[in-house]
Amino acid sequence: MANEAKTISITSQMTRNQSPGIDLTKRPRLGELLIQAFLFICGAISIFTTIGIVLFLGQEAVHFFQSPEVTLWEFLTGTVWQPQIGYFGILPLLSATIMTTTIAMIVAIPLGLGVAVYLSEYAAPKTRSTLKPILEIIAGIPTVVLGFFALYTMTPFLRSILGKDVVSIYNTGSAGLVMGILILPLISSMVEDALSAVPRSLREAGYAIGATRFEVATQVVLPAAISGVSAALILGISRAVGEAMIVAIAAGAGPALTANPFKPAETITGHIVRISGGDLSYDSIDYNSLFALAMVLFFLTLILNLISQRIIRHFREVYE
């Protein structure tokens, strides 16, 4: 209703303005200024979020490093994570994170690229418009559901193939595989966007010199979109590093330094979920250690995201 009143006031103003000798100089409008200030504050909330993350997480992490039991060096190089007996070495957790991420990317990168090339270069428009939403459904499935899938479908499947002695009930392998399935649509949809942005003229030129469809796709289109493609891959890695529920459910509960993907091991995220889900007293060293882990995770993903953004900004091929 207020809007109507406003419109009426505008029209009445306009009729008044038709009289001679009107003042057309800009007048300060308090309402407009207030609105702009409000909008700015809303925009700035994101800054406060970042400051909050760095400040609060950093503060607790500093508490952690101030305690006599830990040093930064031990934290970064220690091979045992046993908070009960005062061992805080991040390597077992980090190695499990790297393990699940690697397995996920081994699945997601070739498949994601394959799907993207197929959808953008081969598929008929109709096929694409059916397949794309189906793949996007996977990206929208809550990760706790995928964790369930990893534990109760993927692991039994692996165990039936490789034998129950080889594959433990909880293992990084099946968590990594399912994580790969989660990241596949993420990569494929970003890569497909990048491929579609390559102008048609480049493809036509490729066909004109006698290249086959596949050669055009891999030797003309893919290199032309390389910035978008690599940015997508890095974002995929960043997502895999930060993914929590699949590994919390399926990868195992207990830090372990192992290179065997069929043995249980706990990732950084999985550890945070398990410990904070239990009874935890504030300001204990266990509690503070979670924040040190979270800081590592934050900077790891931040660096990956920044690289990805930089690639897009600096190596983007601009076609008119």
């Binding site: 809007n3 419109t7 800054i47 706790v144 964790g147 369930f148 889900g277 504030y282 920044l306």
Partner: protein, 432 residues
């Protein structure tokens, strides 16, 4: 990728220059069959990778359905049919007939406790029946089987249970049923339901929408319509892009320190004079909602920005030309035009918040809530949290109720997304 490194294809342009055309044509056509074959092989591989994605989705849905139905071996501590004198089935008795059975078989303490939870006069026949079944007959699940297994080895299972669990009953359970959706949480998988979790999820999502929707759109309007390209605005934009990539669990840690601990008086409601003995130190629905709101804020802003950017500039110019102020232009022309896009993006990000688990575990979801949340200062549990807790337990039956809860969650998400599509179609028809 072998074809990219293929020396023959790489070197072709040079040979064109050097050798005679005849030789080149010969080479070209001798290569051609191979190149086409390579193309066909790769096409099969590309199709295969697409197929893998679809197969994974199918396998996921199939395995969940597979686990939410199937036979279960149930053993009663007391045979329910032996409780009635005349041998009439328990379910047909009225409440007046059932209550004596309760009194007879339960300890006085337990009976008093039941009455204190709800006066006897208010009990419905169904409640009486269920209480007798749960408290006196005490069914216990010994083993469960998946749907495929149940259908394939039906007869085998009957023999197996008779031999392995004498005195037990083999029942075909539909784990997703009305009772499951209706009943509150319970430590017994047979009685456990998901009502508290559904309500918890809805409460949390309501807060997320109320907080994140206006702030997100306002921020998007600022960045697209007001912000001049200066340093601060550049930082804000980069920052939002970065926040969108921060793992959700980090937001959980932020929520734990800021909303749960620092703002405890606010999130536990004590500032407003609200004191609930069951509320645990700010680990409330409000804290959870605010955390998730922060989590999806960057996504909402980015989506809304895209929608606002798609509004043609001519519309703004026309509005300014009529003498409208900036805000009038935004409110009357830009926003209505961008609304379908904004709504779609927002609802999709809300559905992401709906399925989030990790940040809520960190913020401090309660492991066991029997009573429905009554305010935003109540303890909370949500559907994904429930699924996580049930999945983490080793017993068979928990797997089945987790699968049933997953179906509920996926259906709710489907409804949300369908709403997004419906709203988009409806608004775009009206405005454009």
């Amino acid at each position: 990728m072998s074809p990219t490194d293929d020396p023959q294809t790489e070197a072709r342009p040079e040979k064109n220059r050097d050798s005679s055309i005849m030789l080149d044509r010969f080479q070209f056509s001798s290569n051609l069959a191979r190149r086409h074959r390579l193309g066909r092989i790769w096409l099969v591989l590309l199709r295969f990778s697409t197929l893998v994605g679809i197969l994974a989705l199918t396998a996921l849905i199939a395995s969940i359905i597979n686990d939410s139905f199937g036979y279960a071996a149930i053993q009663y501590k007391v045979d329910p049919n032996s409780l009635t004198a005349q041998g009439t089935p328990l379910s047909e008795l009225s409440c007046e007939e059932l209550i004596p059975i309760l009194e007879e078989n339960l300890s006085t303490n337990r009976f008093r406790q039941l009455i204190s939870e709800k006066p006897l006069a208010q009990w419905s026949q169904e409640e009486c029946y269920e209480t007798v079944l749960a408290e006196v007959a005490k069914p216990k699940i010994l083993e469960t089987w998946s749907l495929v297994y149940s259908l394939r080895y039906k007869d085998l299972l009957k023999v197996y249970t008779e031999q392995k669990y004498p005195g037990s009953e083999l029942v075909f359970k539909t784990w997703l049923n009305r009772d499951f959706i209706d009943s509150p949480q319970s430590s017994d998988p047979l009685l456990a339901g998901i009502r508290t979790a559904i309500l918890g999820s809805l409460f949390v999502i309501a807060i997320v929408i109320v907080v994140a929707f206006p702030i997100g759109i306002a921020a998007a309007i600022y960045l697209e319509e007001y912000a001049t390209p200066n340093r601060i605005n550049g930082i804000i934009q980069t920052n939002i892009n970065n926040l969108a990539g921060v793992p959700s669990i980090i937001y959980g840690m932020l929520g734990l320190t800021f909303f749960v601990r620092i703002l405890e008086p606010l999130t536990s409601g004590s500032v407003f004079g609200y004191s609930d003995p069951t509320t645990a130190n700010g680990r409330t629905i409000l804290a959870a909602g605010l955390t998730l709101a922060l989590l999806i804020l960057p996504v909402i802003i980015i989506n809304s920005q895209e929608a606002i950017r798609a509004v043609p500039g001519s519309l703004r110019e026309a509005s300014y030309g009529m003498g409208a102020t900036r805000w009038q232009t935004v409110w009357h022309h830009v926003l209505p035009y961008a609304l379908p896009g904004i709504l779609t993006g927002t609802i999709l990000s809300v559905s992401r918040a709906f399925g989030e688990t990790a940040p809520l575990v960190v913020v401090g979801a309660s492991t066991f809530v029997r009573f429905d949340p009554d305010s935003i200062f109540s303890k909370f549990t949500t559907i994904p949290i429930q699924i996580y807790q049930w999945t983490a337990r080793p017993q068979d039956a928990y797997k089945n109720i987790a699968a049933a809860a997953i179906i509920v969650l996926l259906l709710l998400l489907l409804t949300l997304n369908a709403t997004a599509i419906f709203l988009r179609n409806r608004f775009s028809r009206r405005l454009v």
